[in-house]
């Protein structure tokens, strides 16, 4: 059992014991002393109090009436008000009605009685309530004021719009966040966000691949074959590797030649975890006639990667295994036709992603009833979702290819705090204005 400690300390307990008995707090002694010093020099406050309270008898009766009329008391309370109220203990003319209906009777008297009303010696809990309420109010108010003041300064001159402010500037990159998110998700771990200064360089791509453990001998050989310096090739796994301009150029040339046709691209896409925007699925009819053409659609694969397809039938019993490759959009369509009636099960597994499932179709004798329902249509991506179409490793350096769903709304805030489109049309034409308005350090090595 852990020990729980009180938030009360011995000092607080000592203070509290007195406070509960109305001890320990009183109107500032220094204030009283200073008022007394004033009264000694000029006892006008005492005169006013005396005048306001003095009474006399009416004739021989015991009825007491004020000695001074209200008009006289008012005149007494406003001595020097329009010249030097200090010398008359009065309210300056401009403040004659400052305290509403309060019976002021000399400013010093009023101040002292006000202080005593805050800290009534007979019940300090009144002060505790007053203090708490005052504190609550000013703390809340100050939050509004300080937040307001800071709101005007904390972003300095970097404020662009409310969207960017509330989204942590994500909308300054792309205002169409669902499409942008989809593209980002499809890219797996392609981009190292801690190395954005090198975005677009072949060496940054290779370093990220190395970070994911994806440097293969095939890749190294390809680089070497296209003129990359052998020292560089041997150090591809080194995160501190500095690659010269000519070597990077040679790397890029090599990347243009790393395609699926020669079988090298699929492995790289798989390491990065690049995937299609369609969910993994196998769609086909649930039943068909013998010898009828059956179209089956497989979607959601990593482009250019392969998957297993194991077919098992119950009549006749048997199994056939085959490998297929997704196209550049991560889909695969194939057509079958079974000549023997029976139930066919296809266990499918995407080697690249590990997704798996079973597709079942009943092959029935021709013209048997009930007739097979109409076959399903080919799955299509949700509107606005264009599958990746990566044909070479060099495409991984091309934002236009990497962001097929969101490239048209990719933007950058320029040096004038203006949002600029990176692409100016649906053909992927890059905005040449950027050559003038990007930060100089991004444009020129010598900046």
């Amino acid at each position: 059992m852990s020990t729980s400690y009180s938030t009360l300390t011995p000092l607080q307990l000592t203070a509290g014991a007195g406070l509960m008995e109305n001890e320990g707090l009183k109107v500032s002694a220094n204030l009283i002393l200073s008022i007394d010093a004033y009264d000694v020099l000029l006892p006008v406050g005492n005169v006013i109090l005396l005048g306001a309270s003095a009474t006399g008898n009416v004739g021989n009766s015991n009825v007491h009436i004020p000695i001074l009329s209200n008009v006289t008391i008012k005149a007494l309370e406003s001595m020097g008000a329009n010249s030097c109220p200090t010398l008359g203990d009065s309210l300056p003319v401009a403040y004659a009605n400052a305290f509403g209906n309060s019976n002021v009777q000399g400013f010093t008297n009023f101040l002292e009685s006000t202080a005593n009303s805050y800290l009534p010696s007979a019940d300090l809990t009144i002060f505790a309530q007053l203090f708490a309420q005052a504190q609550s109010y000013y703390q809340l108010t100050n939050q509004f004021i300080n937040s307001t003041v800071n709101s005007q300064t904390y972003l300095a001159n970097t404020f662009t719009n409310t969207n960017n402010m509330v989204t942590g500037e994500i909308t300054s990159v792309n205002v169409c966040t669902p499409e942008f998110a989809q593209d980002l998700a499809n890219l797996g771990s392609l981009i190292n966000l801690n190395n954005l200064n090198e975005l677009g360089t072949p060496s940054a791509l290779v370093k990220q691949l190395a970070l994911l453990g994806g440097i293969s001998s095939t890749l190294a050989i390809t680089f070497a074959a296209h003129g990359v310096n052998l020292d560089t090739v041997l150090a591809l796994n080194d995160q501190n590797l500095t690659v010269s301009g000519p070597d990077q150029k040679a790397m890029y040339t090599a990347m243009l030649n790393i395609t699926n046709e020669n079988g090298k691209l699929a492995e790289i896409l798989q390491v990065f975890g690049i995937r299609n925007s369609l969910p993994p699925s196998v769609v086909g009819p649930t039943s068909a006639y013998v010898d009828q053409t059956v179209t089956i659609y497989v979607t959601g694969g990593i482009p250019k990667t392969s998957f297993n397809w194991i077919s098992r039938s119950t009549n006749p019993a048997g199994a056939v295994s085959a490998g297929y490759t997704f196209d550049s959009s991560g889909s695969c369509t194939f057509i079958i036709s079974e000549s023997i009636a029976g139930t066919y099960y296809w266990d499918w597994t995407f080697m690249s992603s590990g997704f798996s499932g079973i597709y079942t179709v009943d092959i029935q004798p021709v013209n048997s009833l009930p007739a097979p329902p109409p076959p399903p249509r080919k799955p299509v991506a949700t509107a606005g979702q264009t599958p990746l179409n990566i044909n070479s490793m060099a495409d991984l350096l091309n934002p236009y290819v990497l962001f097929p769903n969101s490239f048209q709304t990719l933007t950058v805030t320029d040096i004038n705090n203006v949002s600029q489109s990176i692409y100016i049309n649906s053909d992927g034409t890059v905005n040449s204005t950027l050559l003038r308005v990007l930060p100089p350090t991004a444009l020129r090595s010598t900046a």
């Binding site: 005396l50 509004f144 004021i145």
Partner: protein, 308 residues
Amino acid sequence: MTAYDKLAQIIPPDQALANKALAVSLQQVSGIARLSLPAFANAVSSIQTMYGLPLVNAQTSPISQATANYWLSFGGGTGNYGTINVSDVIGAAAGIPYTQNFNDIVATMSTMDLTYLNLIYTTMTDCINGVYSTGITNEVIIPPGLPAAGTYVSIDSAMYTGLIPAANTEIGHLTVVYPTQTAQLNNSWVVMVAHLENEFSLQADSTINFGQYVAHSKTAMYGFIFGLPNYGQDTSIGGTAQYIEAVADTSTLTGQAIVGSMRQGQINTALTASGINTSNNPTIIPNPKPAQAVLTPAQYPYPQPKTT
């Protein structure tokens, strides 16, 4: 950094430009360097935007000047931008800022000859106390040599037509003789009157109503006691530490313990920051442990062996 000029020699120039723009843009996202791409994708997919709120998104600054002015008008305190402290709301009891102003006033008045004005006020006191009443009806005779000497039908008349005008005349005379001093007096006096007026105004804003307070509220005082260490941490001018120190009656153990509790708040902050533990806080575990009540059984009974 590989700038555009270098990158454009490696990959196609348009791709190089797009990459540099994208990098610059992504780097504006706060904290992005700490994220993996999947984590960033997840964040992007989760956010909402100001879509469909054109007036909000048309703002050219985090808040408009009109909005700023609106909130700043809520101040009225003596702090920066009108921020408020406890002395602004209930400063009178602590003498903040009054004590200093009174001290200044007394110092200034000490350089002035106030003898005659004092004589007027003394005469007023005597008059009200009946010293000059003749006993004939309400008649009052202020003797020659004293301010406003003469015969009056009543004390009220002597005050209203004689002594009060005499005081006003003398005060006016003093402003002519001592223009600098009286100007200083007026400045200090107005500061106090204005501050007290502002206290009342802020109390109204705070909806403070003395009539609604509960007499002898123990819970209110508990709260005050609990808060002492925290009050000690507000050491700003007019803040809670200065205020409580001013009203603490340090001639008593209680008053000194109040101040000590506030200092303890600051000490704790300093020690906590340096990792040093204090022995300030006792445990709240009851000692001795309270006797435990016998409650209904809460476990299933194990079957008893059959007895024969």
